[in-house]
Each structure stands twice: as C-alpha cells, then as structure tokens.
Amino acid sequence: MHEGEPERLKGAENRDTQLLQTVEAAAQIKEDSSSVDSDDSIEQEIRRFLAEKAKVSTADKSKDGDVSRNGTVLVCTPLREEDIKQENQLAEIPIKSISPLSGQCPLISPAQDRPLLSQSLLPDMSTVAAHSHLPSVQSGSPSLLEPADGAEKILNEPLQKPDFFRVSELFSLNDLFDARVHLGHKKGCRHRLMEPYLYGCRLGHDIIDLDQTVEHLQQALNFTAHVAYRGGVILFISRRRQFGHLVERTAKYCGEYAHTRYWQGGLLTNANIQYDAGVRLPDLIIFLSTLNNVFQQHVAIRDAAKMNIPTVGVVDSNCNPSLVTYPVPGNDDTPAAMELYCRLFKMTINRAKDKRRHMEILQGMPAPSTPSS
C-alpha cells in the first residue's frame, strides 16, 4: 500500500475514507490534516511530496524560483494551520491543496501558491463541478502571501478596462428593436418601479426605452463575463414553460447551470440540508424571466439577495426590478427576444471562458486538459 509517494498519499486517503464523507480525493488531504487524530507520518509524507513537487516545478519555471524554495519549508506549516482553522469555521470541505494530486498543475509551493492554486484550480474545478457540487473558497486577491504576479495579473487586468470582453459589440439597438425587446405589457399591468425605464405608452401598450436597455444590457453582460472569467458558477432561471428547453440548452452550451422547474422553497436558503453539507452556491443568477407562473416575483430573487448572490434579470414592464442587482428592462414574452438574450449570454460566457484560457496560457500556466465548455 505504501510504495511510492503518490501511492502513499492515495493509501492515506483510502484509509480515511470512512472517516470523511467527501467525494473528492483531494479534499481528503485537508480533512486529514485538520482532524485531531491525524497521523504525523502522513503529514510528513505530504510535506515531502509537496516539497519534491515544488522542486520539480521550480526547475521548470523561473518565476518565483528562489523565493518559493525558501518558502516551502518555513511558510508551509503555519499557513496550513491557518487554512485548517478557517475551514473548520466554515464547515465546508476545502479543496485548497488539490493540485498536487491532480497532477495537472505543477505547484511552486503550497504557501505561495494559494492564489495560484485557486486560479489554476479553476479550470480543473469547472470540469469537476459539472458533475458534483464542490465547495471552493475562492480567494479574490492574494493579500496574505507574496503575490504570484501571474495570477494577480490575470485577475486584475480585466478590471482595468471598461469593456475588456467587448460585449458592446455583440448587439446593437437595432438588434434589440428587431427582436421586439421594446414591447412591454399593457398600461394596466405596469409596475410602479418600472416607470423610469419606459419610453412611453402607445395606445395603452408600454414601450420600453431601448437606450436605457442598451446600457443596462451592456453592464449585465460585462458583469456576467467577468464572473465567468473568474470561474464563477452561473445559474439560469426562468419559469416560463415556453422557453424552458431553450434556457436549458443555453446553459448546457455554456457549461453552466439552469433551473427551469418548480422552485422548492429552500433551494438556496436551505441548501445545506436539501443538498450536501458542503454545497457551493451559484456566484451569479441570471433570470430570463423574473416572474413565476402566477405572475408573482420569483422566490429566487429574494433568496439570492438573502444569500448575497448578485443577480442579472430581464425585467418586463410588469416586474419589480428593485432587488435585481443588474436589471435589464426588456420584453420577456416574445420568442425572438428570449432567443436574443440566450444567444447574448451564451456568447459572453463562452467568450469570457476562452479569454481565461488564453490568459492562462499567456502567463505560462498550464492549460486544463478538459475544459468544461
């Protein structure tokens, strides 16, 4: 059982499987080290393995070579304890140190690589996440450690430009008009809070101001692109039966998720019980129609606000836009309009993911073997 280094680790995992109820192999290492009864020898083996890996990777890459070697031995232990404490508090299954096992991304050092870890993990995570709910503590900026420049640059560079993903060239006002996005409901159905977004009322029909829609849609697409770029989980919601299949198809094409069926009460707020204990909730929810089938606001809008999840939503003239983070005033009833939205979201998400892969390749980080989209 304990022949080679990797196999030793695997053996350790197998042994601890009954203790931990995690699905992912990688997570077990962390749980291993976090439990009070962990074997010291296993820890030492892990550290040795990581150190070896670090040496191998520093031979390949010249980036943070010297520093990392110094950091490997010293910083390793305290950092991991910190992680342990954090993760115990979080009561989530952490996956920070997946990379050594996954074998796809060479590590510089566990300490330094926390930012790199999360970033290089993302492409891997996206493949795995497609099949199981995986928690991950995403570090937005490596503030605690010496910043690995590549990872930080990857994250921060897109934020500098106003339209890094050039989403404004994906659609024009004419496209919106042709897709009948400007057509609202009748005057009697109008929601008080939608009045600022309306251009006027033509013989009783509300007309949505497309100038405002263009701006809002650009903002929404930009936000979606950035979240997808950072490997966020995106959930499409629409309770319109007419477009259920379209929405599901869109989500499948992007490599993201969709929920077009009956929304059970606690899906977001009670996720820990309705799903697994360490479920990762979506990082962005896109509503292609904010109403449910009885013309009331979809429960998920309120729930997303409760769970601090930003939302992007197409709000028609009879919807309440107040809780939607990035509302897009527009028609949600016409097939042409819905197809336009689905196409736009699909294109932005795919574009963002492709960009991410390109940036990683440019930075010299390993490209994932199986991209999810």
């Binding site: 954090q86 503590v137 605690l144 994250l155 921060n156 809070l193 600022p196 966020g232 409760k306």
Partner: protein, 174 residues
C-alpha cells in the same frame, strides 16, 4: 459560511462589504463577484423598495403617451378607407396606411392646400401610383333604407298567399 440574510437592508454589496470590514468574512473568502461589482457597479443600487400601501396619493402620469403628428392623418385614413393587412414578419414592411401618410406629408410640404383637400389629393395621387384604396362602406340601419326591403317582403308574402289561394282549388304540383 457567514452571511447576512437581510435582503431588505442595503444591497448585496454593502452587506458583504460590511461583513468583510468587521472581519466576519475573511479576505480569502471574498466572493468572486465582489471585485467585479466594485469595479463595475450597477446604475442603481439594488435596494429593496417598500411597496406603497396607500393608493390615495394622486397618480402622477410619469409615463407619457406616445402620439405623432401623423396620427391625425392615420385617424382620418381609417375613417374613410378600409384597413389593409399588416405583414409583421417583414421589418421593412410599409402598409397602405403608412404609404398614405408619407404621400400626405410629401404633398403637404409641397403645396399649400387645406387638410380635406390634401386628403383627397393624396387619394388621387396614390391611385395614380396604382395603389387601390377601398372606400369604407358604412351600413346605415335607418328607417328609410329598411322600408324598401320590408316592402319587398310584404309583396312577396301577398303574392304567396294569392298563389296559395289560387292553388287550393288545384292540387300542388311542385
């Protein structure tokens, strides 16, 4: 994970920001979207708006009606002529009404006639171009027009009765 489920206080961003400031959410647990929101905030803060309970506040018409100058012409057109079909599948489709309106505005800019004369002029001009406008037939239901019909019916009935009277002697052969 720590969170704040108060959707009616502040926005998603302010709650997460304050939780981070107070240290409940660590920097490493910062959500993915936080930096993006900071860099590109929405036009309007997504705060919860309480619905107005009372409706006796005078309703301000903030959404204006959309009317065009050509609507007057269109109204007259539909009074006089029959409406043609609209083919909505073509985005550049021009209906007869629209053509009428365009001709009308053209003539109006060129000549100085008054409205009714202009109206008839446009009708003639369109006929010349080959566009046939069917005049709307207005069916009056008034006493004068009904009586000839009634008369015809009565005479028919009388004729029938006389025929029947004549036929009572002779057998029916129909």
């Amino acid at each position: 994970m720590a969170g704040s489920r108060l959707e009616r206080f502040g926005t998603v961003f302010t709650r997460v920001r304050d939780l981070m400031r107070s240290g409940v959410i660590k920097q490493s647990e910062k959500p993915i979207w936080y930096d993006v929101y900071e860099a590109f905030p929405p036009k309007r803060d997504p705060r919860y708006v309480k619905p107005h309970a009372r409706h006796d506040i005078k309703k301000q018409e903030t959404v204006s009606e959309i009317f065009y100058r050509e609507d007057k012409v269109r109204a007259r057109f539909y009074e006089e002529y029959e409406a043609e079909f609209f083919d909505l599948s073509k985005s550049n489709f021009v209906s007869t009404c629209q053509r009428f309106v365009e001709k009308y505005t053209e003539l109006k800019s060129n000549s100085e006639m008054d409205d009714s004369a202009l109206f008839t002029e446009t009708g003639k001009a369109l006929l010349k171009e080959g566009l046939i406008l069917r005049r709307k037939e207005i069916h009056f239901i008034s006493e004068e027009s009904r009586s000839p019909v009634l008369e015809l019916e009565l005479t028919d009935m009388l004729a029938e009765q006389q025929a029947v009277g004549a036929d009572t002697d002779t057998p029916h052969t129909s």
